[in-house]
């Protein structure tokens, strides 16, 4: 789809991204792409043991090495040496304890990479080993070793409970009850760009950090007390990220960079985590063990739900308790269930650190709920699509935690579109064509995903747009673009309102000195919240442009003028002036337009769940075609359909990008991403052993957008970033059950898992 001439942005039209050109030529510079004439390298020595009392770190030999600039330990951290947005329990450099194998013990700054590696190898430490705890339920036992001795709840970080209606006693009123235990493992983000950045102290004593982060403003607030620096003296600059998916939300490398920069006498210092270090140190999707019970009436309506969940947040709290809470809020997926008893324990262990990962905690519970729904359908001898249609929520219903859905609720439309689709209609014919040693099955899953922050956390953005002296527009993107294309969509929105095309816009990526606080790049909020603020700012700017332009036309009415690419034209007499001419009429003080937008939030039931409930949700219904090879257990997803309610579509190309990408990560989580760790040591610690899908492992995916506007969203859209990742695990698991009658409660469903299950099913001899 080549565009021959200057066409302005139009809402709803597939449009290439503004950043595509610089990325495809290799010109776009990521955090690791800066190499100055004179800079140092920094690196970290990590513990390698999961639990112990730290006695002493020996840095003397490393310090003596020629070319080593500094070797730092916790004693050299000037501030609190603690980060962690909720609990502040994670050290910049470990001081008293080692809580997981990735804990950083010493920071080395050296003149080159070879010296850095040599120095790191010379660092040793004395410790007293402590018994570790690696399973969530074992961690809750009275005699379990404590990960944090000063934690008020011991290894229980937080317990969250929601009861509605009659709670669990409503099971007495059910005709059919199904139950199951479901487990989801840690999942590695495996972004292609590992954590990287560089930092320096400028002449005025300001600490400048260029780095891979989803949270520049929040980072400053964490770095300041941790390092003992005034927050106003920290500047964080964020280029386009090479993927993040939640793994770069919060402090990863920033404090280490900042601390390094304090010791180089003004020389910039760079850090870039190798892949194995990223595997060791970065956060993972919290693993979960979930016990589900679903009670259904004979007519197929869901009547009671019990969910008892344990989420493993690993060594540090991070955002773990909010991950679990969002999960629990979605424990009943997209259905009406009048009686629920939902309880979740977020638990410390000496495993890897749990943190945000696309889907947050929703992917985990949806994996469970959507499988138990299929089990209920089977027990009732009801079609799995039909049972979902009966129970799917509509606007005005209460969701599974009893909060009324006051915003757009399109799950029924999604299911209707799925049921009309040829892929659903032709499924039986397809299944019958399975060849020798192949079994075919089809599975569906619904999902919901809340947009934005929980109710008591203000969810806002500050848009900023500049009308330059050249008559072009500079958008100061407030929210990091980690690959999802929100920056480009900001230009798309502004362009549609201003009648301009791509070359009229310059996008400034987040920089705490130039762009305005707009919250994190997370929670499926990045287009909605900033986009809404931008609409306000652009409308103000547009009005001003037209008012000023009047001086260049002999007419008196602004309504007779229209914005066209590069200029303003009179509707009737076609006279045109350039935007540059109009820009010349602006005083310097008139060039900038800002606007604040705060997303709607719940005002009732704030105590229903930790930090309050959400009120805007996106929805999806997925269909997976799966073929199993009974000789080897290999499972292939041969077809996939995702129907999504994410409101109106601003850019179909960007919309599909998000849906397809989320599905692919979901397929990896469903079939091959088998994070294996024993006693706090991961066996899958590289891309050779942690298996993410290649192009040969993902099918062509069909994406359909349900027609369902969200009135409060810019041009009627709502969150799209996370919704699709929660479909594949249950849809594929349900398809596997359809193919061979085997229900596996954990993922990934590896070749070996399914093979063993098939073989046990056939009652053959067990493996030796």
């Amino acid at each position: 789809m080549k565009r021959e001439k200057q066409i302005p942005f139009r809402i709803g039209e597939a449009t290439p991204r503004c950043d595509a050109r610089t990325k495809v030529t290799g010109q776009e510079r990521y955090a690791a792409d800066y190499y100055g004439d004179h800079f140092f390298w920094a690196g970290v020595k990590r513990a390698g043991i999961p639990h112990g009392k730290l006695i002493k770190v020996h840095t003397e030999d490393a310090k003596k090495l020629k070319g080593v600039v500094a070797v730092l330990t916790s004693e050299d951290v000037p501030g609190s040496n603690r980060v962690g947005i909720i609990r502040g329990d994670q050290p910049v450099l470990a001081d008293k304890k080692i809580c997981y194998a990735g804990d950083p013990l010493a920071l080395v700054i050296a003149e080159n990479k070879e010296t850095l590696q040599a120095a790191l190898a010379l660092i040793t430490f004395d410790h007293e080993p402590l018994p570790g705890v690696f399973d969530v339920e074992e961690a809750l036992r009275k005699d379990a070793p404590l990960v944090h001795e000063d934690s008020p709840g011991g290894n229980l970080l937080r317990l969250v409970s929601v009861e509605t209606g009659k709670g669990a006693s409503a099971f007495d009123e059910c005709d059919v009850i199904v139950e199951g235990v479901f487990e989801t493992p840690f999942q590695e983000h495996a972004y292609l760009e590992t954590e990287a950045g560089w930092a320096y102290l400028d002449d005025s004593g300001q600490l400048v950090v260029v780095t891979t982060t989803q949270t520049p403003f929040r980072d400053r607030n964490e770095m300041a007390p941790a390092l003992g620096i005034d927050v106003e003296k920290i500047r964080v600059i964020v280029p386009y990220l090479g993927g993040a998916f939640g793994g770069k939300d919060g402090i990863t490398i920033q404090c280490l960079l900042g601390l390094s920069a304090l010791h180089t006498g003004g020389v910039p210092v760079k850090m870039w985590w190798g892949r194995e270090e990223s595997f060791l140190a970065s956060v993972k999707r919290l693993s979960a063990r979930m016990r589900y019970r679903l009670g259904v009436k004979r007519d197929g309506t869901f009547h009671a739900l019990e969910c008892r969940a344990y989420f493993d947040t690993g060594a540090y709290a991070g955002l773990g308790e909010t991950v679990m809470t969002l999960g629990l809020e979605h424990a009943g997926s997209a259905y009406r269930i009048p009686n629920v008893s939902i309880k979740g324990s977020c638990v410390y262990t000496n495993n890897a650190v749990g943190g945000p990962f696309r889907g947050f905690g929703v992917t985990q519970v949806t994996a469970a709920m959507e499988r138990i729904v299929d089990m209920a359908a089977q027990k009732l001898s009801v079609d799995p699509l039909a049972i979902r249609r009966v129970n799917a929520v509509e606007r005005g219903d209460k969701n599974c935690i009893g909060v009324t859905l006051t915003h757009s609720t399109g799950i029924k439309k999604c299911l209707a579109a799925l049921s009309d689709h040829p892929l659903w209609r032709e499924r039986e014919g397809w299944k019958m064509k399975a060849g020798q040693f192949k079994k075919r099955g089809v599975g569906i899953a619904c999902m919901a995903h809340a947009m934005g922050y929980p109710a008591v956390v203000p969810d806002f953005a500050n848009a900023k747009i500049e009308f330059t002296g050249e008559g072009r527009f500079r958008i100061y993107a407030g929210i990091v673009d980690m690959g999802q294309g929100n920056a480009s969509t900001y230009a798309h929105i502004a362009g549609a309102l201003l009648g301009q095309e791509a070359s009229a816009f310059e996008l400034i990526q987040p920089d705490t000195e130039r762009t305005l606080p707009s919250g994190s790049s997370s929670a499926s909020r990045t287009t909605y919240v900033y986009g809404n603020a931008l609409v306000i700012a652009v409308e103000d700017l547009k009005k001003k442009i037209l008012d000023k332009a009047l001086r260049l036309f002999s007419t008196a009415q602004a309504e007779e003028l229209m914005l066209v690419p590069g200029g303003i034209r009179h509707r009737k007499d076609k006279k045109k002036v350039s935007l540059k001419e109009v820009a010349g009429l602006f005083d310097e003080s008139e060039r900038f337009y800002t606007a604040y937008f705060r997303s709607p939030a719940a005002t009732e039931m704030l105590d229903r769940i930790y930090l309050g409930p959400h009120i805007i949700f996106s929805y999806g219904a997925h269909l997976a075609y799966v073929e199993i090879d009974t000789l080897t257990g290999c499972i292939e997803v041969t077809g996939y359909l995702a129907v999504t309610d994410a409101g109106n579509v601003i850019n179909p190309q960007a919309y599909e990008q998000q849906i397809q990408g989320g599905i692919a990560q979901g397929i990896g989580f469903a079939l091959s991403e088998d994070y294996k760790a024993a006693n706090g040591h991961a066996d899958t610690n590289s891309l050779a052993t942690y298996i993410i899908p290649t192009a040969m492992d993902v099918p062509d995916m069909l994406s359909v957008a349900a027609d369902n506007a969200e009135e409060t969203g810019p041009f009627g859209m709502k969150g799209i970033g996370e919704i699709s990742i929660s479909g594949p695990v249950p849809a594929i698991a349900n398809a596997v059950a359809d193919a061979c009658g085997i229900r596996i409660g954990r993922n990934p469903i590896t070749v070996e898992n399914i093979f063993r299950a098939l073989w046990e099913q056939n009652d053959q001899e067990r493996p030796r």
Binding site: M1, G26, R29, Y191, L192, E193, Q484, Q657
Partner: protein, 154 residues
């Protein structure tokens, strides 16, 4: 050690340690940061360049091996403002999200299309199977390469 080679059509000489990895030579020594590193162990393909027209992993090549070779990096594909047809197709088809895998992916695609100018979608998937992408799910990359193949044949 002085190493002479042709880089993006121009003769170059680099005076570097012979065991410097080619990915580092390109990025650190020649300031061509278009070639990325995602793993350093040959698993992800982000460091893919063309050596005598053939796609290879620059994280597993040493500088000394460049002697006398013709190297093409992502920076050498476009001519001024004119993008290579594969690059153009990537832009138009939406094959670029975070963009970190993109340079390696494009180089692989250029090699593949030079040998197989009219690939099926399955052949495309096989052809890019050594380039991991975490953002796109590959579909629009396959679309782009398919479009580029058709474009070239016009």
């Amino acid at each position: 050690m002085k190493i002479s080679f042709v880089l993006n059509g121009k003769k170059r000489t680099a005076d570097v340690q012979p065991d410097m990895r080619v990915v580092d030579l390109l990025r650190e020594h020649l300031h061509l940061t278009g070639t990325k590193e995602g793993c350093g162990s040959g698993e992800c393909g982000a460091c893919t360049i063309l050596v005598d027209g053939e796609s290879r992993l620059s994280c597993l090549m040493l500088a000394a091996q460049l002697e006398g070779k013709r190297i093409t990096t992502i920076e050498g594909l476009s001519k001024g403002k004119r993008l290579h047809p594969v690059q153009e197709a990537f832009v138009e088809s939406g094959a670029v999200q975070c963009g970190f895998c993109t340079p390696g992916m494009v180089m692989t695609a250029v090699d593949m299309l030079s040998r197989n100018p009219d690939p099926s979608r399955d052949e495309i998937r096989e052809g890019i199977s050594g380039n991991l992408c975490r953002c796109t799910g590959y579909q629009k990359i396959v679309d782009a390469i398919e479009a580029a193949a058709k474009d070239k044949s016009r």
